[in-house]
């Protein structure tokens, strides 16, 4: 055991810059939880890079005393992919929002996930454009009246988890800004996954879309609206743990426990199921018929992209010798004296 290593604290991960989010913004909670879990992750700050795009959430790297890149709208996944390929030893986070990663950067998100580059994506979903002052986002609900949709939004919203499961994400989770303990645990689990981890954080924008997730955060109702996933455990929820989810054919159903229905009839959460069938169903759960799940939906193993890139290099080195001179002189040459 190397006792010489300094013990890091949450404060060691904060930069000297003033945080400029609006007072009461859910982003503060995510920042606090990130600083809190990083000492446990055990990677020193100089080996961590936060990469972000554009939007309120994307200011995040400035507030971390790590390496950081505040890039361009939607492109953080592409920047982070290059960074991780160039130096696989780095621990890389992509900080993004619903507009950044699902609208302008939707393409890059899909391709990062299908490649399974070993990094962590934290998507702050507040269902609104904050930094541009209140236009609807790709996750805004239909009919949402905003500055750009005075007659209500016509766009059908994207479901972030369905999107990333469709791209065969190997780690998929959801948490909530207000639920700090759960959020910290979820972020920590994401860092422990090899491959792309995707965490959707339901985050409140108290200026432009206050209360978007109130049904999941209000202490009077949240427990009846939320399903906290635990690997290997039956899907029980409700203020009094009196409800559960079972499968009728291919249709999930909320049931009240008691009488003929007990925990044995309920779906048991298996985050490591090889196929994402149940994860796909869980991603689509919504109130009021079904509880909104939080926790780890899926965690499976698949080779990481950058690892394979460097394996190919090693294989090529084992097979081909030679240097630039050999390449330049290969084929037909002639000599002029």
């Amino acid at each position: 055991m190397n006792t010489a290593l300094p013990v890091l604290k949450a404060g060691d991960f904060g930069s000297d810059q003033d945080v400029r989010w609006c007072p009461g913004c859910g982003d503060y909670s995510i920042l606090a939880q990130m600083k809190k879990i990083l000492p446990d992750v055990g990677i020193p700050p100089h080996k961590i890079v936060f990469v972000s795009g554009i939007g309120c959430s994307s200011r995040f790297p400035y507030y971390m005393n790590t390496y950081g890149m505040h890039t361009i709208h939607g492109r953080a996944p592409a920047v982070a992919t290059g960074l991780k390929i160039a130096n696989p030893d780095l621990t890389v986070f992509v900080i993004t929002g619903d507009g950044d990663s699902l609208s302008i950067g939707g393409n890059h998100l899909l391709h990062l996930i299908r490649r399974n580059v070993d990094l962590n994506i934290i998507l702050f979903n507040n269902r609104i454009y904050g930094l541009t002052k209140g236009q609807y986002s790709p996750t805004s609900l239909q009919g949402h009246v905003t500055k750009s949709t005075p007659g209500g939004s016509l766009d059908y919203p994207l479901n972030p988890l369905s999107v990333v499961l469709g791209a065969d994400a190997t780690f998929v989770a959801r948490s909530i800004d207000f639920n700090t303990k759960h959020l910290g645990e979820t972020l920590y689990q994401a860092t422990q996954h090899r491959g792309t981890s995707f965490v959707e954080v339901l985050q409140n924008c108290n200026v432009f879309n206050d209360g978007a997730w109130e049904h999941l955060t209000d202490k009077d109702v949240k427990d009846d609206n939320l399903l906290v996933l635990h690997h290997g455990k039956p899907m029980v929820y409700g203020k009094n743990n009196d409800k559960g989810v079972r499968l009728q054919g291919l249709t999930p159903q909320s049931v009240v426990l008691g009488g003929a229905v007990n925990e044995q009839h309920l779906l048991v959460h298996d985050q490591s199921a090889p196929e994402p069938h149940i994860a796909n169903l869980l991603a689509r759960f919504s109130n009021p018929d079904l509880p909104v799940p939080i926790g780890v939906f899926r965690q499976v193993s698949r080779p990481c992209y950058e690892e394979q890139v460097h394996q190919q290099v090693q294989q090529a080195k084992a097979k081909s010798k030679g240097d630039l001179s050999a390449i330049f002189n290969s084929g037909d040459t002639w000599t002029v004296s």
């Binding site: 950081g68 592409a78 390929i85 160039a86 899909l110 391709h111 330049f328």
Partner: protein, 628 residues
């Protein structure tokens, strides 16, 4: 058997200084392959060479149509040459469509060899011809040689038992054999090529070999050719040579730059004509730590390179006009972050999808100005296929010294063209020194501190104590912190501009070819170098007071440019656009210039430049005075 004697013709030999030969046929006829073989063989014979492949954008346009015509032009010479030649000495046509679309380029009394078997009614119809051009006087004034290539090839390969369809695919080798005989070319390199290319397909290899030799034998035995030609070796500086294609030279240059700077080369790119061959070439060299990443789009390609640059490696992205446009915001971020990286634009005809396989120089202003805000970036333009090698190394030298993205401009003409390349000895080349700080003198690391040329330090993630954040928001000088301060923004804009001007402190100034003052100075940039240099040489030989200045760095313009131009009565700027360098020079230097401009998707011919420059030269005061 004849084949044992191949290589020496028994017919009289006529010596030529050089020849320009074009092979044309359907895009599926193997003309590009044939052209490359003639190129390599001529290079191996010691000739100076220049080539011009010209093919349609479609992979296989409808067979026999004019749209599907694909050609390859080779100019080989015993003298130093810079262009693939103007008029053709020999034209080999595989079908009527090829004939009618190319005949105008054949010199009077030039040699016209046609595959007579493909001039039947159905072929004429596909080429939209009412009459057979071999019969209606179209070919009058040329030395027409009809060869039953299809039938002769079938006969030659009969013993291999391959199908008729396969046999017909060998006829380009027959044509090659005939051309090789005509110009006294050695068959050995092509026989070696056949062996390697068709390894494991014995029948096909044998058939192609037989077709090649049958073509050679046909030349030897037919009475249609009374003589054969010979082009003696050119006098080139001593060394080992090979022929190199522009895109290939660029790839080699990038690999060399990586080696000289001790960096791993990463290419983040997206396929696009005519740049994709750089990706294909580099993807073969993983054993030399070359990483190639085919991104999901052009934007991701440039962004991946920004990540690579931050990580401290050599990031390069390649594209052509439409893709470069998409990379604009990424390049702007690169300028703001002040990270070294290379962006390569292999220009093609535009706008929009334009003419994907044809050449043009119309991206110059986009390369220099095509970003938002005050966003200066150094731009270097390669002059020839082999020069792509040197341009890549020079660009990386500047990018790393000044901490800036650098754009390299080439074009479809030099990217696909080839010429002899003296193989360099990388061991003796000057290293590209790069310093990554490992500690800070100040209490806090200052990522936007400047050195004498205004470059900032390249501190890379993983370095203890140098953690810092960079981004697209305006930076405070020295600290790199986000700053909206008015005076700071002005200062940073000025600093980024001055940094680009500092390129002139790092690179060799251009040199005037010819007198330093006189009637006309021809100013060129990029792939038109060869045509301009040849035209000026010819005009000088005719006694005109014409000099040539070729610009390598087009941004910044050379510090002494204004003084160099001042010595001439007229400045003439030939460009394959509507006058973009002319705009820059007139705008930045307040010097008026005349343009010679063309956007036809093809390079300048020397002849057209000579005529136009001569006309301008004759209007100069000294000429008028002499004639009075």
């Amino acid at each position: 058997m004849l084949q044992t004697e191949l290589g020496e013709s028994s017919k009289p030999v006529q010596e030529l200084k050089g020849a320009t030969v074009r092979l044309v046929g359907d895009s599926g006829d193997g003309m590009q392959l044939s052209g490359m073989q003639l190129t390599n063989t001529s290079a191996l014979a010691g000739n100076d060479i220049a080539t011009f492949p010209d093919f349609p954008a479609e992979i296989r346009a409808p067979r026999g149509t004019r749209a599907g015509v694909s050609g390859f032009q080779v100019h080989f010479s015993s003298e130093e040459i810079f262009t693939p030649g103007d008029g053709l000495d020999a034209l080999i046509c595989m079908n009527p469509a090829a004939l009618v679309t190319n005949l105008r380029d054949l010199k009077p009394n030039g040699l016209l060899i046609v595959n007579e078997d493909s001039f039947e009614d159905k072929d004429l119809k596909l080429a939209k011809l009412a009459k057979n051009p071999l019969e209606d006087g179209t070919t009058d004034g040329y030395r027409l040689i009809r060869v039953k290539m299809t039938q002769l090839t079938r006969d030659a390969v009969a013993e291999t038992k391959i199908s008729v369809k396969e046999a017909d695919r060998c006829k380009n080798f027959f044509a090659m054999g005939l051309v090789f005989w005509l110009y006294g070319r050695d068959l050995t390199p092509t026989l070696r090529f056949i062996e390697k290319k068709f390894a494991g397909k014995t029948d096909v290899a044998t058939a192609n070999r037989l077709a090649l030799m049958a073509g050679w034998n046909f030349g030897e035995t037919t009475e249609a050719f009374p003589t054969t030609y010979q082009v003696p070796p050119a006098t080139l500086p001593g060394g080992t040579y090979r022929s190199v294609i522009g895109n290939q030279a660029l790839a080699y240059g990038l690999m060399t730059a990586a080696k000289l700077s001790g960096k791993k080369l990463f290419l983040g790119t997206y396929p696009i004509t005519p740049a994709s061959d750089i990706l294909h070439e580099l993807s073969r060299f993983k054993h030399l730590d070359v990483l190639t990443f085919q991104a999901e789009d052009e934007i991701a390609a440039v962004c991946s390179v920004i990540g690579v640059a931050f990580a401290g490696q050599m990031g390069v992205t390649t594209s052509s006009g439409p893709g470069i446009l998409l990379k604009g915001e990424g390049m702007s971020l690169g300028v703001m972050m002040e990270l070294p990286m290379l962006i390569i634009d292999v220009q093609r005809g535009g706008p929009s999808t334009g003419l994907p396989t044809k050449t043009e120089q119309a991206d110059l202003l986009m390369a220099i100005h095509g970003r938002h805000g005050e966003c200066p970036m150094p731009v270097i333009a390669a002059a020839s296929p082999a020069d792509c090698y040197d341009a890549a190394i020079e660009a990386w030298r500047v990018a790393t010294r000044l901490m800036t993205p650098v754009m390299i401009l080439t074009d479809g003409y030099i990217a696909n063209g080839s010429e002899p390349w003296k193989i360099p000895d990388v061991q003796t080349m000057r290293p590209i020194a790069i310093h990554h700080p490992t500690e800070t003198q100040d209490s806090k690391f200052l990522p936007y501190e400047r050195d004498n040329l205004l470059a900032r330090p390249w501190a890379i993630p993983g370095t203890e104590g140098l953690m810092h954040r960079i981004g697209g928001l305006e930076k405070e000088d020295r600290t790199g912190n986000v700053s909206y301060d008015a005076a700071n923004h002005q200062h940073m804009v000025n600093t980024r501009a001055q940094k680009v001007r500092n390129v002139n402190d790092l690179v060799e100034p251009p040199v005037i070819f010819g007198q330093r003052s006189g009637d006309v100075l021809v100013v060129s940039w990029g792939g038109t170098f060869g045509a301009c240099r040849t035209a000026v040489t010819q005009l000088q030989a005719l006694g005109h007071s014409v000099s040539h200045l070729h610009l390598r760095w087009v941004n910044p313009l050379p510090a002494e440019l204004k003084a160099m131009l001042a010595g001439f009565e007229k400045i003439v700027i030939p460009e394959l656009n509507t006058g973009q360098l002319r705009q820059l020079i007139q705008g930045q230097l307040s010097i008026s210039a005349e343009g010679i401009n063309k956007v036809e998707g093809k390079p300048f011919s020397v002849g057209e430049l000579v005529a136009k420059i001569q006309a301008i030269a004759l209007k100069c005061d000294s000429q008028i005075a002499t004639s009075e």
